[in-house]
C-alpha cells in the first residue's frame, strides 16, 4: 500500500503545483462525502489527498454580472441558506436539497457532485439547465467550461492532471423564468435518483416560451441535454399539448440500463412522468404563481 499524503495548500497556485506533481493517484478533498467513502470501501487508493478548503475565496457565494459565482468548496447547506440564490435558481436548490442527509449536505459540494461523475447526481441536471459554467484552473492556465462537458462517463471527468474546478458561474436570468428539478426514488430521502429531470424555461410578456433547456439524469452514462424537449416548448405557451410533446421527447431520449434501482422500461416511463411534472413546476415559477 502506497503512503497517503495530506496537503492543505493556502493558494490555488500551490494546489495546482501539488496536484500536477503527484506521483500517484490524487484526489481533491472538499466535502469528502464521496472521496472518504470510496477510500473507506477500498474503491480508491490515492497517494495524495489535496484539501482545498484552506484556499481563500473558494467558500464564497458572490453576486457577479447579475448572476452568481459559487466557490468550489461551498457546501449544500450554505447554498440552501443563501436567500438570493434560492430565489433566483430554485430548481438548482431542488437538486441540492436532495443530496443525502442534512449531515451530508453540511459538507458535500456541487463541484464534488459534478466531479464524482455519477449519472444520478442530483445537482447536475439543474446545474446544466441553468447554463452554468465551471471555472477550471490548471498548470496551463484557466478555462471556462460548460458544466455538462465535465463528466464524460460514470466516475470519469474531462479534467486534465493538475486541473481543479475553482468555481461555478450561474448567469443572470430574466424575470419571467423558472427552473425545477424532480427525481424518482423509492424513499423520499437518503436515496439515489432512479431518474431525475430538470427544466429551465423563460417566457416573454405574452407567456410564450422563448428559451428552454431540459436535462435528464440517471438514464445514460452522463446527464442528457435533450434539444427535442426544448424545441417542443419554445414558441408555445407551455400548454398541455406542448408539455405532452416535451415529455414524449424526454422518454425517447433515454438510453438507461437495467440495474438494482430500476429497469430500463421503468426509467423511460418515469422520465416521461417526471418531465411533465417538472415542466409544470418550472412554468409556475416562471409565472410567479409558485
Amino acid at each position: 500500500m502506497s503512503e497517503l499524503r495530506y496537503e492543505a495548500p493556502d493558494s490555488l497556485a500551490s494546489a495546482i503545483k501539488l496536484l500536477a506533481a503527484a506521483g500517484g493517484p490524487a484526489r481533491i478533498l472538499a466535502g469528502g462525502t464521496d472521496v472518504i467513502v470510496q477510500m473507506e470501501m477500498d474503491m480508491i487508493e490515492p497517494e495524495l489527498l489535496l484539501d482545498i478548503k484552506h484556499i481563500p475565496g473558494l467558500r464564497e457565494i458572490k453576486a457577479e454580472k447579475g448572476g452568481f459565482r459559487i466557490g468550489a468548496t461551498v457546501s449544500g447547506m450554505e447554498m440552501m441558506e443563501h436567500a438570493a440564490l434560492c430565489a433566483t435558481w430554485p430548481g438548482l436548490i431542488d437538486g441540492v436539497k436532495l443530496i443525502g442527509s442534512i449531515q451530508v449536505k453540511g459538507r458535500a459540494t456541487m463541484a464534488g457532485n459534478l466531479c464524482n461523475a455519477s449519472p444520478g447526481a442530483d445537482s447536475v441536471p439543474p446545474l446544466v439547465t441553468a447554463g452554468a459554467m465551471a471555472h477550471v484552473v490548471g498548470p496551463n492556465g484557466a478555462r471556462d467550461v460548460p458544466v455538462e462537458q465535465i463528466p464524460i462517463g460514470p466516475g470519469k471527468t474531462s479534467l486534465a492532471k493538475g486541473e481543479i474546478i475553482e468555481s461555478f458561474f450561474l448567469p443572470a436570468r430574466p424575470r419571467n423564468a423558472g427552473d425545477a428539478y424532480l427525481r424518482f426514488t423509492p424513499r423520499t430521502e437518503m436515496d439515489i435518483a432512479v431518474v431525475g429531470v430538470a427544466v429551465n424555461l423563460t417566457l416573454d410578456g405574452a407567456g410564450v416560451c422563448t428559451a428552454a433547456r431540459v436535462a435528464i439524469g440517471a438514464v445514460a452514462p452522463t446527464v442528457l441535454i435533450v434539444k427535442e424537449c426544448a424545441d417542443a416548448l419554445i414558441g408555445t405557451k407551455v400548454d398541455a399539448a406542448a408539455i405532452d410533446k416535451m415529455a414524449a421527447a424526454a422518454a425517447a431520449a433515454c438510453r438507461p440500463i437495467d440495474d438494482k434501482r430500476g429497469t430500463k422500461e421503468f426509467r423511460i416511463k418515469m422520465a416521461r412522468v417526471l418531465a411533465k411534472r417538472v415542466a409544470q413546476k418550472a412554468l409556475e415559477r416562471a409565472r410567479h404563481v409558485a
Binding site: E3, Y6, G32, V37, V104
Partner: protein
C-alpha cells in the same frame, strides 16, 4: 504506514492534541485517540448518522471527516450536551418518553436534533422527520424519537 500528522483542535470547549494518519476519520480519532466513545460508529459511510457531531457549528457525520481536517476547528460531541449533572432537555425527554431502545443511534440523533432546534425552535413534525432522515435507528423506534424531539422543543420554547 502513512506519515502521522499533529493536530490541535477544540472538542466541547477543551483543547486537544493528537497524532493521526490521513486515512483516519474524525470518528476514529474521537473514539480511539481521545477516548470520547459517546459518538458511535454505525455504517462508516455517511448513511446512518450515528456518528453525528458539530464541526464549526455545522452538523456532519464524523466518519465523513478525516481527523487532519479537524485542525483549528471547533467540535461538539454528545459528551458536551449535558451541563454537569443537568441533562439537556432533549436528553431528558428521550428518557421520559422512551425515545431510545438499544441506544446506538441515540447520541447522533440527540446531536442532530439539537442542531435543528437551535436553527428552528418550533419545527413541525414533518420538519423533524425530514431533518432526522439521515439518522437511522435499527430498532425502528422512530415514532418515540419524534415525540421526544417535539416535546423537548415545546419545553425549550417555554423556558
Amino acid at each position: 504506514m502513512s506519515k502521522k500528522y499533529h493536530v490541535t483542535t477544540s472538542v466541547n470547549g477543551d483543547e486537544y492534541d493528537f497524532l493521526c494518519e490521513p486515512q483516519q476519520s474524525l470518528l476514529d480519532v474521537l473514539r480511539d485517540n481521545l477516548m470520547l466513545t459517546g459518538t458511535k460508529e454505525g455504517c462508516a459511510t455517511g448513511d446512518c448518522g450515528a456518528c453525528s457531531v458539530m464541526l464549526d457549528g455545522r452538523l456532519v457525520c464524523s466518519c465523513l471527516v478525516i481527523g487532519v481536517e479537524a485542525g483549528g476547528k471547533k467540535i461538539e460531541t454528545i459528551e458536551g450536551m449535558a451541563k454537569g449533572d443537568t441533562l439537556h432537555p432533549l436528553q431528558q425527554k428521550f428518557l421520559e418518553l422512551n425515545g431510545l431502545q438499544c441506544g446506538i443511534c441515540t447520541p447522533g440523533i440527540l446531536v442532530a436534533a439539537r442542531a435543528l432546534l437551535e436553527k428552528n425552535p418550533d419545527p413541525s413534525e414533518m420538519e423533524v422527520r425530514y431533518w432526522l432522515a439521515g439518522n437511522l435507528c435499527r430498532c425502528t423506534g422512530y415514532d418515540k424519537v419524534i415525540r421526544a424531539v417535539m416535546a423537548a422543543a415545546t419545553e425549550m420554547r417555554g423556558a
